[in-house]
Symmetry: C2
Subunit: 457 residues, 2 copies
Amino acid sequence: MSDKTIPYKIYLEENEMPRQWYNVRADMKNKPAPLLNPKTHQPMKAEELEAVFCKELVKQELDDTTAYIDIPEEIRNFYKMYRPSPLVRAYCLEEKLKTPAKIYYKFEGNNTSGSHKLNSAIAQAYYAKQQGLKGVTTETGAGQWGTALSMACSYFGLDCKVYMVKVSYEQKPFRREVMRTYGASVTPSPSETTEVGKRILQAHPGTTGSLGCAISEAVETATSSEGYRYVLGSVLNQVLLHQSIIGLETKTALDKYGITPDIIIGCAGGGSNLGGLISPFMGEKLRGEKDYHFIAVEPASCPSLTRGTYAYDFCDTGMVCPLSKMYTLGSGFIPSANHAGGLRYHGMSSVLSQLYDDGLMEARSVIQTDVFEAAEQFARVEGILPAPESSHAIRVAIDEAMKCKETGEEKTIVFGLTGTGYFDMLAYEKFHNGEMSDYVPTDEDLKQGFDGLPKIG
Amino acid sequence: MSDKTIPYKIYLEENEMPRQWYNVRADMKNKPAPLLNPKTHQPMKAEELEAVFCKELVKQELDDTTAYIDIPEEIRNFYKMYRPSPLVRAYCLEEKLKTPAKIYYKFEGNNTSGSHKLNSAIAQAYYAKQQGLKGVTTETGAGQWGTALSMACSYFGLDCKVYMVKVSYEQKPFRREVMRTYGASVTPSPSETTEVGKRILQAHPGTTGSLGCAISEAVETATSSEGYRYVLGSVLNQVLLHQSIIGLETKTALDKYGITPDIIIGCAGGGSNLGGLISPFMGEKLRGEKDYHFIAVEPASCPSLTRGTYAYDFCDTGMVCPLSKMYTLGSGFIPSANHAGGLRYHGMSSVLSQLYDDGLMEARSVIQTDVFEAAEQFARVEGILPAPESSHAIRVAIDEAMKCKETGEEKTIVFGLTGTGYFDMLAYEKFHNGEMSDYVPTDEDLKQGFDGLPKIG
């Protein structure tokens, strides 16, 4: 093993933890396009958004000029329960691959939600509490966000109603019990509990659901219940803002040891982890201070950046949410039920979409058997059982490290290991039994989604 | 919240990590009684033990005079992948309980095995590899030890055969997949693959198994296969030696901040965690340097210390293993299948048994609904979803903190949080649904176990 002056795990001290989130929009020349009212197609005003979201979060959502925003003390105290997260030097993986590359990963899985989602959940629950709300509603896919929000709500004594994508609800009954342990109620989506749920069930009987459906139901429940607001675990600007803590800690840890990464890799579903991880580095790139090669990795079965179109679209299947300009497969797109790798959202954060459209980062899609192969390889040498979502980033990190082996380059690779796979063992089992297929949508499949895009202006 | 000069989590630096294990037997005036040959009732010789166990581990098993034993570099490197584990100040729990007590817990769950078991698994796999073995066999109950050993064997390229207690095998199919991810084979026990398994199945058709049965099967397989040895995750002296890393790290972290604990609490099944956690503190007590109040917590449904007898007994149900002098319920004792809280072993480490018999520590038993209530309370404020096993210690830590609230004493309480409960959601579900019962064996139940004890001398 190589330069052991760098420890296996770099932990920051508590007093080195960030006291402010970083808002990458402040440094973007081309700002992400504003959310539009789905009826009038005019930019959403704060008052309109406040019917759905908490007041302070709306402010954060619309603020594209303030670079640093204070993290309230209550949130910083909660962060201290599970943060700082370690930046790990993957010595064992490097040795296994026999690569000259230096590989680091920021591991966000060491908390009960099992992922980075808690970083934004606690912030959103805090602002809901500050506003005097009774509770919040949300959707969850794999269940990481729902678990994170349940934990955050339990901490602040808020009610928490979770709509869980039906396929995950059925495949992950234990996730439901974790959320119940934290006092949340969990409903499989689409459900009969909302008008939009009934409509979707009528149009697509037997559907296994999608994040887009679950969002519609959660929004309807929030807006029709006194004292409730809707919160979302990804896609939104506010979420990327909260998740910037990942990138800020990563950067502080790297700086401490004088390390400059060449390549920064993150998996991308709605963009919360990738956006959070790369934010401060992207800021340097936008300000012309440094250059980095950013890679967004998405599943070939839900390829919003690599095969989507950059257009205004609904954030949800039920078309009740505002329109967002983003790389999208169309809000009607539902990934194949064969797809076990997570990252099932039809669109992508408008911040990341704009950065991608401006040529500031690369995107790659990978098939899921390749992803699980990388996951298993990683687990065996690094000890951590990764979530399928996170394993998309592992796949590309290994690919890049193997390129270095060919060229002899000693590149420094950093990737985001967003979470653990303890609740994904059904997917691992499929993989072990050779029952996992690699669905890739045809152009015809995608055309249907694109045909459903709203016509703007 | 009180004195915030102590961080939420105390992490040691890599160079502060222990380089030697501590062998508490060296400081014991009354040494634990030797293992006896089950046929001759004479102390087991090294050669005899080496038919079952790895050579170097036999040496560690029999060494009751060397206080400090070097940790080989390969093991220290593996430890660096997931250690040092944090010593956490439970500020949020203290605030919730409104207790003047100061509560700390050493959290061993931040690795994929989900528990402290990895500390000994990697050591045992290392010595097996050094000896040039093909593989090892073992038993596992809740699955934490099996997972840990699978991870360790995968790291060193050893084959790993796991006998898993049938009730756990059925309730925790995902545990099996984690072990498969690491390349292990897993057989539900009792099984038809061994003579002893067949015998037990014949005598007790429909049995849900026990650790004692699974041990018998694993030992038979090891001794009847070329190039295999048997390894055990608890009870043995060598295991307590390896687990002393928990206590050593805890002590270093406390010393760094000038903290002296009053009470040290650990859950106790076979004794691996409790023994590891208390070892260096017990050493101080044995040498007359300091005094501490140690509390072993066990389930009321499997009360080996609180209601067992101190006698020579078989370590396994099949009576193929050496005899160990310990607090025991009898090797035929099988806890009720209602019992979901783990810690199902019929006996207790002979080191801990001797210390308990010498009045050097207290033992308490708790019923499982009280344990799950404490688990849920802890999860909601401290964020971590604890394993049922670990929650036994949480229960008593909370009880002691509440006593401090009554008396106004500002005691410092340290407990071992051995692992996470991600694979225990069926038990949590039972608890949530009010379907969990509190089985406590009658004196008549226990008498049956005692009647089966071997007659020695």
